[in-house]
C-alpha cells in the first residue's frame, strides 16, 4: 500500500470576489520512505496542497472534491477528533520560517514534550526522555532542552522545530519551504538532516519549494505546479533531462547553473494568472510561446509519456 495517494484533489477558497481554485484536480502519490519535491511559483497552490493533506486549511478554504488516502484511509471525510489523532502521528508539517513559531517564554524542551504528553499520553518523565533523544537526533546537545528559543541560533531553532515535527514518529513529513529563510550553510545542514532522518526512519517526505535547484539532490521525484494544477511529474532525471512541458523547461532555465553557459536566461514573459479569473484551457497558454487554438479551448489531460513521467500539455512533441 502506498503511503499517500492524492486523487483529483480540489481545494477552493471562498473570497469576496468569488471562488478561487487554489488546487484544481491535483493527483500524486508517495511510497514509504520516498521524497517528492513540489515546486512552483508563489500562488501556484503548493502550500494549499500540503495544508489539505494535513486538513489544516484556513476557514475560507474547502476541499470540494477528490481523495487523500493517507496510509489507505481517506482524510477528507474524517471527523476532527480523528484528524487530531492523525496529525503528528501520521503527518506533520515544518513551516517556512518555523523558527519564529517557537513560543519565546517557554523552554524548547517543554514545547517539544508538550506535544508528546498530549498525543501519546506519555508521562512527563517519559516525554522528557524522548525530547532529549529527539534533540540528539537533530544534532542539538540534549542538555539544551531547558534553554529558551532566544538562546538558540536560527539554524538550531529550525532543527528544534524539526525535532518537534518528529515527536510522534510521523509516517509523512511535509516541509513547506523549510530552508528558505536560512543561510546557505544552515540550509545544507538542514537538508542533510532531513535526508538522514528520512533514511533512518523511512519517512515519506514532501518538500515544497520555489527553489528548483535543491530538488535534484534532495528528492526522488518532482511535481511541477502552475496555477493550481500539476503540469508535469516525473523522476528527478525525467524533469531535468527530459522536461516536456514548456513551463517546466522555462522554469529550469530560470535558475543559474554554474556548469552551464554564463548567459542570463530568457525568463518567462508575463506573470502568473489571477486564480479568481484563470485563463481558459491550459492556464499557461498566455505565457506559452507554442500555444495554439486547442490550448485556449481545452484543458489538457495528463498523459503518461513513459515510466512515471506524466505531462499535461497539448503539444505533440510534449506527449510523445
Amino acid at each position: 500500500m502506498k503511503l499517500l495517494e492524492v486523487n483529483n484533489l480540489k481545494t477552493y477558497f471562498k473570497t469576496s470576489k468569488g471562488m478561487l481554485k487554489a488546487v484544481d484536480d491535483v493527483s500524486f502519490d508517495l511510497e514509504h520512505g520516498e521524497a517528492l519535491g513540489l515546486v512552483g511559483e508563489s500562488g501556484c497552490g503548493k502550500t494549499t496542497s500540503a495544508l489539505s493533506i494535513a486538513r489544516l486549511l484556513p476557514k475560507e478554504g474547502r476541499i470540494v472534491g477528490g481523495q487523500i488516502l493517507l496510509d489507505g484511509r481517506d482524510v477528507i471525510p474524517a471527523p476532527e477528533s480523528e484528524l487530531r489523532r492523525r496529525r503528528w502521528t501520521d503527518v506533520s508539517i515544518i513551516f517556512q520560517g518555523a523558527m519564529n513559531a517557537l513560543n519565546p517564554v517557554m523552554t524548547v524542551g517543554k514545547q517539544i514534550s508538550e506535544a508528546i504528553v498530549l498525543h501519546e499520553k506519555a508521562s512527563e518523565a517519559d516525554a522528557l526522555r524522548k525530547t532529549k533523544d529527539l534533540l540528539e537526533l537533530v544534532e542539538i546537545p540534549s542538555d539544551r532542552y531547558k534553554h529558551y528559543p532566544h538562546e538558540f541560533s536560527g539554524g538550531m531553532k529550525q532543527r528544534a522545530m524539526i525535532a518537534m515535527a518528529l515527536a510522534c514518529d510521523p509516517k509523512l513529513i511535509i516541509g513547506d519551504e523549510p530552508t528558505t529563510a536560512l543561510d546557505v550553510m544552515i540550509q545544507a545542514q538542514i537538508l542533510n538532516l532531513l535526508e538522514r532522518l528520512r533514511r533512518e526512519l523511512s519517512m515519506g517526505m514532501i518538500l515544497i519549494t520555489h527553489d528548483l535547484a535543491i530538488l535534484g539532490e534532495t528528492c526522488d521525484k518532482i511535481a511541477v505546479m502552475y496555477a493550481g494544477k500539476i503540469v508535469e511529474t516525473g523522476s528527478v532525471k525525467d524533469i531535468f533531462e527530459d522536461a516536456r512541458h514548456p513551463y517546466t523547461k522555462r522554469l529550469i532555465g530560470c535558475f543559474p547553473n554554474v556548469k552551464g553557459p554564463k548567459t542570463v536566461p530568457a525568463g518567462i514573459e508575463g506573470f502568473p494568472p489571477n486564480l479568481l479569473d484563470p485563463p481558459s484551457g491550459c492556464a499557461f497558454h498566455p505565457r506559452c510561446e507554442f500555444a495554439c487554438d486547442i490550448c485556449i479551448a481545452q484543458t489538457p489531460e495528463p498523459v503518461n509519456v513513459g515510466g512515471k513521467h506524466i505531462v499535461a500539455c497539448h503539444l505533440k512533441e510534449a506527449r510523445q
Binding site: E41, S42, S153, G155, D183, V184, M185, Q187, A188, Q189, L191, N192, E195, R196, H210, D211, L212, A213, I214, G216, E217, V236, F240, E241, R250, L251, I252, C254, F255, P256, N257, V258, K259, K262, V264, P265, A266, G267, I268, F271, P272
Partner: protein, 345 residues
C-alpha cells in the same frame, strides 16, 4: 593620483563599528563599550560600467558596506572615493553625490509608500533635489525613467498605487526611482531575492541592459553565489566583515582558493545535479560579530587553520592578476610555487 584609470568607486580600509547599547548600570560599570564589527577593513574598487557582487551569509556585513558607500551609515574608519574624490560629508556634497549613486532595496513590497501614486514615488528624488520646475518636465522625467525600467506605456502607471502592481513591476518602479537622477553607480541589495524565479531574470536583464546602454556600475549584494556568477564581472566573498577573496566571477566559481569560498562551492546546489552522500557542512556556527577575534575571522571554522591564522589577521594578497586571497596557507602555497618556478628558470 587622479588619472584616467582611476576607478569609479574605491573603498579603502572601510570599517563600520556599531556600539551596542547596554543596560544603564552595566554601561556605567564597564569601561569598554562593546562594539559589533559589522565591517572590519574592506578594500575594493569598482570600475565604470562594472558589476561587482558582494557575496556572504547574513551578518557578513555586505549590506552595511553598500550603505556605508552611499553614506547611509557613518563609516567608523576608511575612505570611500568616488570618481577620484573622497565622498564629501557636508549637505551640498552629499546632495551632488546622491545624484550619481543610488540604492535599490531588497523588498519591493516595503520600499514603496503604499499611499503614494507611482508618479510621486518615482519623482521624489527630483522633488528632493529640486531639479524640475514645471509639472510637464516632471512627468517627462518620470516617463523616461519608467520606460527605461521596462514599464510601458509609462503613462498607464502614473496614477496607480503600489498594491495594483505585481512584485516584478514594483521592483521596476524601485529601479525607475533609482534611475531618475541619472546615476553612474547603483548599490543593489538583493534586488531579486523576493521575486519568483520567472520574474527574476527580467530584472537581471534590465540591470545588465542599463549597464550596457548607460554605463551604470553596480555593487550587487547577494547571498546566492550562482546568481552572483551569472550577473557580475567580479565577485568578492565576505565573511564577518572582511573580504576573504576577490576575483573575476569565473575564477571565484571555477578556481576559488579560499577555504571559505571552497566550502560555499561544495554545498552549492546545481539544478539537476544529484549528490552522493552528505553535503560537506562547515563545523560550528558563524561567531558573534560583537566578540573580538584575533587572527583570521574564519579561523574558528577553517579546516586549514594554523597557529598563525589564529594569531594574525591575513590581508588580501594577489595570487593571479586581479585575483586576491586573504588566507595564510593559500598565500604560502602561492609563494612556494612561484619560487619553485623562479628556481627552475
Amino acid at each position: 593620483m587622479k588619472d584616467a584609470r582611476e576607478a569609479l568607486v574605491r573603498v579603502d580600509g572601510l570599517k563600520v563599528h556599531f556600539e551596542i547599547r547596554e543596560g544603564f548600570l552595566s554601561g556605567l560599570l564597564s569601561k569598554e563599550k562593546k562594539v559589533v564589527r559589522a565591517v572590519d577593513g574592506v578594500t575594493f574598487t569598482i570600475d565604470r560600467g562594472e558589476i561587482l557582487s558582494l557575496v556572504g551569509e547574513s551578518g557578513s556585513g555586505k549590506t552595511t558596506v553598500g550603505k556605508a558607500i552611499l553614506q547611509l551609515v557613518q563609516p567608523t574608519e576608511g575612505a570611500v572615493v568616488f570618481e577620484g574624490a573622497p565622498v564629501s560629508q557636508d549637505r551640498e556634497g552629499l546632495k551632488a553625490f546622491r545624484q550619481n549613486a543610488q540604492m535599490v532595496f531588497q523588498d519591493p513590497y516595503q520600499a514603496l509608500n503604499p499611499r503614494h501614486y507611482i508618479i510621486d514615488i518615482v519623482a521624489e528624488p527630483l522633488d528632493v533635489a529640486g531639479l524640475v520646475k514645471t509639472s510637464e518636465e516632471r512627468e517627462q522625467r518620470v516617463r523616461e525613467a519608467l520606460e527605461q525600467a521596462g514599464l510601458t506605456p509609462a503613462d498607464d502607471y502614473f496614477y496607480r498605487y503600489p498594491y495594483e502592481l505585481s512584485g516584478g513591476q514594483r521592483q521596476r518602479v524601485v529601479i525607475a526611482g533609482a534611475l531618475i537622477l541619472g546615476p553612474r553607480f547603483i548599490v543593489a541589495d538583493e534586488p531579486v531575492s523576493m521575486l519568483d524565479a520567472s520574474i527574476r531574470t527580467g530584472i537581471l536583464k534590465l540591470m545588465i541592459h542599463l549597464r550596457d546602454t548607460k554605463g551604470i556600475a553596480y555593487l550587487f549584494i547577494t547571498h546566492d553565489l550562482s546568481l552572483a556568477w551569472l550577473i557580475s564581472d567580479r565577485i568578492a566573498i565576505m565573511y564577518l566583515g572582511r573580504v576573504m577573496e576577490i576575483g573575476t566571477a569565473d575564477e571565484i566559481i571555477k578556481a576559488g582558493l579560499h577555504p571559505y569560498t571552497q566550502a560555499l562551492m561544495a554545498i552549492m546546489p546545481v539544478p539537476g545535479q544529484t549528490r552522493e552522500g552528505e553535503r560537506p557542512v562547515l563545523e560550528g556556527e558563524t561567531p558573534n560579530a560583537a566578540v573580538e577575534i584575533t587572527g583570521c575571522k574564519f579561523s574558528s571554522r577553517c579546516p586549514r587553520a594554523t597557529e598563525r591564522c589564529r594569531q594574525e589577521q591575513p590581508e588580501l594578497m594577489e595570487v593571479a592578476p586581479g585575483h586576491s586571497v586573504a588566507c595564510f596557507p593559500v598565500q604560502e602555497e602561492h609563494r612556494s610555487s612561484t619560487e619553485h618556478i623562479a628556481g627552475n628558470e
